[in-house]
């Protein structure tokens, strides 16, 4: 028994009505393969609406509190100290608030990234199994991973843009012409830290408190020893290396160059960019490999 060939009539009737003909399964699959990452990113962003108040609160509340507490409160103490004053463009000095600004934006990106690349990833494999539905479709595992990263990028950008606007409102940006680029250098910090973490989270089979350990022994030290609240040089050499390997420090230094012309040789600026890119891209490659192994294996 042969099934009747429906395409002929369908094409004809659609031509009459002036509609496009329906896609064949092969065409649908090809489309999914072409735009798969976007499909997944779309789903990821919609899912984020489930906790949109958290997203908004961390994006708006955190900068406000940090800028009030550290940027104005602590600044009274530090700016009042005559020895302080942070080197700016052309031999000038800038206030503590201006010095702090780029570090806070980069920190926010790092925090969002560490939140989204831990339990969310593991939950996608283990508890909520969000990856297995898309994986049964023509989407490839690599596209699922990439779509995830695209969604994350949107959330980080949302956070950093709002943070930057707060900095402007507090008068913490000396050179707005280049300063706005710190939104992207902060994003780079988020990805440079988040991609390797994503690759790690994708390998976890059991939650034995590894994420609490990551938070305690990696995220916290990076946050505190990356020249965030004070120049890295104030620390003894024994802990200064934490700053050197920290994506947060590299991104913060870039932000400072852009925001107020922090004096720095051009070579160092290049090193910062390359280091962050290597971490982000290398991490993404690893993450895609781990996603593929786990979903296809």
């Amino acid at each position: 028994m042969t099934s009747p060939e429906p395409t002929g009539t369908a094409v004809r009737s659609h031509e009459v009505l002036g509609l496009r003909s329906p896609l064949t399964p092969l065409e649908t699959a090809a489309k999914a393969r072409r735009f798969g990452s976007f499909y997944y990113a779309d789903m990821w962003i919609r899912r984020m609406r489930g906790y949109q108040w958290t997203v908004l609160m961390t994006a708006v509340g955190t900068p406000l509190v940090y800028l009030l507490g550290m940027g104005t409160g602590l600044a009274v103490l530090i700016d009042g100290n005559t020895n302080a004053g942070f080197p700016g463009a052309g031999g000038s000095t800038v206030s503590y608030l201006v010095f702090l600004g780029p570090a806070l934006v980069a920190t926010a990106a790092l925090m969002v990234s560490s939140e989204e690349n831990t339990y969310t990833i593991m939950g996608g494999f283990k508890w909520h199994r969000t990856y297995y539905g898309p994986n049964a479709s023509p989407l490839s595992s690599g596209q699922i991973a990439l779509g995830h990263v695209m969604g994350l990028t949107v959330r980080i950008l949302f956070t950093t843009v709002i943070y930057y606007l707060f900095l402007l409102a507090f008068g913490a940006v000396e050179q707005p012409a280049t300063g706005w680029l710190m939104v992207f250098t902060a994003l780079l910090a988020g990805l440079a830290f988040g991609m390797p973490l994503m690759a790690f989270s994708a390998t976890l089979k059991e939650d034995k408190g590894q994420f609490a350990m990551v938070q305690r022994f990696i995220v916290m030290p990076l946050f505190l020893f990356s020249g965030t609240f004070f120049p890295l040089d104030s620390l003894p050499l024994a802990v200064r290396w934490i700053g050197w390997v920290s994506p947060l420090w590299h991104s913060t230094e870039l932000g400072r160059v852009l925001s107020y012309g922090h004096p720095e040789p051009a070579v160092m600026t290049a090193v910062h960019v390359v280091y962050l890119l290597v971490l982000a891209v290398g991490g993404l490659v690893l993450a895609r490999r781990n996603f593929t192994r786990r979903l296809d294996g």
Binding site: G50, Y51, W53, T54, M57, T58, G61, T62, V65, Y66, L68, G69, M70, G73, L74, V76, L77, I78, N81, N83, A84, G209, A212, M213, R216, F217, M220, P221, L224, F225, F229, F230, S234, L235, P236, V239
Partner: protein, 277 residues
């Protein structure tokens, strides 16, 4: 030949007991269960919890201290920045530990593990459960406070023997926060609501004169900060750490005593409303 009496004691008449059905005089059982559960699953996470305030102390005390120099401490005397923030960080750690234990942890046990439902179907009362859980949180807090004080000593930040009293004082602070945290948790329905807790704690942490003296604020802001519990905790530990006391010290302590009584009352009532309808 005496026959052993195997009949259960008939003294379990709630109305004759102190606090009636609220209190089964068996906090021990709740504590024993908690200790056993902790030791079996996540003791390494528990133990490493004291690392965070130490990291803050090293980073801020040394790095930021180089920028700040000296600060005016209790009694108007100048002190090194690390000496100034160390007791404040201990107060923050007492608050954080107590609040995380009594919100996230309790939320999970309340809504997912259904632990309290089981406990309350035994002769245990809501006050036993509340006190037992809070005791566990305090035990952990006391452990962290001891560790932190030892690190302070190793860094040469202890200048007065009074500083040892910071350990029990930190436990009192933790008690205040823990007794309230559990009551607040009982109102929560989703995980996301826990984020609101963070949004209360972060401003308190940053604004309660932790990293700089209260005097940097204008008068109006000062009185708002002085109403917050963490400010009282920070001031209390700061005064103890240098051994300079005033009537204010007693005021800070009284603040926490009131907080503990109110929080415990509220928590017990909430647990009764949830489970003993």
């Amino acid at each position: 030949m005496s026959v052993e009496n195997r009949t259960a004691p008939t003294a379990l008449v709630p109305q004759d007991r102190f606090l009636g059905s609220l209190y089964g005089r068996n906090i021990r059982a709740v504590i024993a269960r908690g200790l056993k559960a902790t030791w079996g699953t996540n003791w390494s996470i528990m133990v490493s919890g004291f690392v965070e305030p130490v990291l803050y102390l090293v980073a801020m005390g040394i790095g930021l201290g180089a920028l700040v120099g000296t600060v005016v401490g209790p009694g108007g005397q100048e002190m090194e920045y690390a000496n100034f923030i160390a007791p404040a960080l201990l107060a923050v750690s007492a608050m954080n530990g107590a609040v995380y234990d009594s919100t996230m942890n309790v939320f999970f046990k309340l809504n997912y593990a259904r632990l309290y439902e089981g406990m309350l179907s035994t002769p245990l009362g809501p006050l036993d459960v509340a006190m037992g859980e809070i005791f566990l949180a305090l035990l952990r807090g006391a452990m962290y406070a001891t560790g932190f004080t030892a690190v302070m000593g190793a860094m040469g930040l202890i200048t007065s023997p009074w500083a040892l009293l910071m350990i029990p004082a930190a436990v009192v602070i933790a008690f205040g926060f823990a007794s309230f945290g559990m009551a607040v948790t009982s109102y929560m329905k989703t995980f996301q609501q826990l984020d609101w807790v963070n949004m209360i704690m972060l401003p308190m942490f940053l604004l309660s004169a932790t990293f700089y003296p209260l005097s940097v604020y204008p008068e109006a802001v000062q009185s708002v900060i002085q109403a917050l519990p963490l400010w009282h905790g920070v001031e209390l530990l700061r005064q103890i750490s240098v051994g300079i006391f005033s009537w204010g010290t007693a005021g800070h302590l009284l603040y926490f005593v009131v907080m503990i009584v109110l929080g415990l009352t509220l928590t017990t009532n909430r647990l009764r409303a949830l489970f003993l309808k």
